[in-house]
Symmetry: C2
Subunit: 227 residues, 2 copies
DNA sequence: TTTATGTATTTTGTATACAAACGGAGCGAC
DNA sequence: GTCGCTCCGTTTGTATACAAAATACATAAA
């Protein structure tokens, strides 16, 4: 009997210490274990990760290019602290970018991709109804990422991913207030509908509005904890 | 007698070997001294630059994050070769981005910034009439960059710069045909006019069209030298 | 008490040394 | 001839050593 259901082939890939370090440090930042503005202690982190400074410092260069940390010559690296203006700038750009992504996805996505997105959306609704915040948040991120991927423009997808990473911590805060969360869910429902109908203009418009509103939701929260 | 006319104080800034290496290698790539798809010979380049491999390899990580080179684990780095699809993707994204930049610049730019851009445009016209292609090209790049900066969104400006760097070599090709160049100049004149009137919608529309047309101009050229 | 100056300690930047992985050349089996 | 193997030179990845710079600290002068 042939194995029709064998697991899909996974290309085996070499992972250098650099790559692993990038991921680990990125996660530490995104998940808030390394606080914004806080200095990055090379000695401590290298021993913690069990690697030497060479791949570690290369990882810092990568993360600096991604905008997650900043390196000041001879005075160390620190987790980048986003000013209110930068958060606004990031969301403004993301709104515009995902609006494009939405339009293109309606034109170019395969039916399977759209079905996948709609399924994702359904699962988000279930989680919302259970008020299961963290898993909802994760699916939400995935939804936006996969929508960008469905637009058939790899540079766009890559840029979206980068912006999203930089905003990740901040956006998590945005859904804390129940009414904010509910509004976001409504917008997502609208997005799903437009996607189902492959209505590019409407999806584009909704995406843009959704992210503009996200800024309003987020701004409320960060204004209190601002420097 | 007090020195009222002493030269203004210039903050002394430290430039690590890393930073210098990034710039140098980036220029080598952009100016075509390192060919796309070609392997990067660490030994040769480090001796050429007179530095050791450590800062050099950090520079490679930075450039990889910028999308100019690609690093394949254990098999070296090479100058990234753009496929036709990627060029299209880059220009599609840039079109959308600069459209936003145009709209925002009309809202937020200072009068001085606008005057500066218009002056730039005038100088471009002079160069066009002299058919002085390289200087024209450089001012053109500067125009797009400074327009993005005038939008008052640092992330947008940064992203624009990154996309532009990746496309730099390719776009230089685009203006080779006289009729193409002439069309581009016409579009620029329209942009200048919209800018002068601070007509955001019109500038946005023109920017987008300009870059869409750029794709058409470029596509003609790269299709012949494609892999 | 404050400010300045010199010294010790830590941290960062760069070079180098070594280990591991890759990529061919040559050789033999089929 | 093609495939597979082994060996060897080369390139890449990582650790470490050393140099340079910045920071912290202590002491002395105002």
């Amino acid at each position: 009997m042939p194995d029709n259901h064998r697991t899909p082939i996974q290309t085996i890939q070499k992972r250098s210490l650099h790559d692993q370090a990038v991921e680990q440090i990125r996660d530490l930042i995104i998940e808030g274990h390394l606080e914004p503005g806080h200095r990055i202690d090379e000695a401590a982190l290298t021993t913690e990760l069990g690697i030497s400074r060479t791949p570690f410092r290369e990882a810092l260069r990568t993360l600096a290019a991604e905008g997650l940390i900043e390196i000041r010559p001879s005075r160390g690296s620190r987790v980048r602290k986003l000013s209110t203006e930068e958060v606004h700038g990031l969301l403004e750009l993301q709104a515009h970018l995902e609006s494009l992504a939405g339009r293109l996805a309606c034109e170019r996505a395969t039916d399977a991709e759209i079905a996948g997105l709609l399924d994702l959306h359904d699962r988000m609704i279930v989680l919302y109804e259970a008020r299961d915040r963290l898993p909802y948040y994760k699916l939400n991120q995935e939804f936006h990422t996969r929508l960008a991927e469905a637009a058939g423009n790899s540079v766009l997808a890559e840029t979206q991913r980068s912006l999203q990473a930089r905003l990740k911590r901040i956006r998590f805060i945005g859904n804390r207030r129940p009414d904010f969360w509910s509004a976001a869910v409504h917008e997502h429902a609208e997005m799903a509908e437009a996607l189902r109908a492959r209505d590019g203009s409407r999806l584009a418009e909704t995406m843009e509005r959704h992210l503009k509103n996200t800024w309003d939701r987020v701004r409320n929260v960060i204004s209190s904890e601002d420097r």
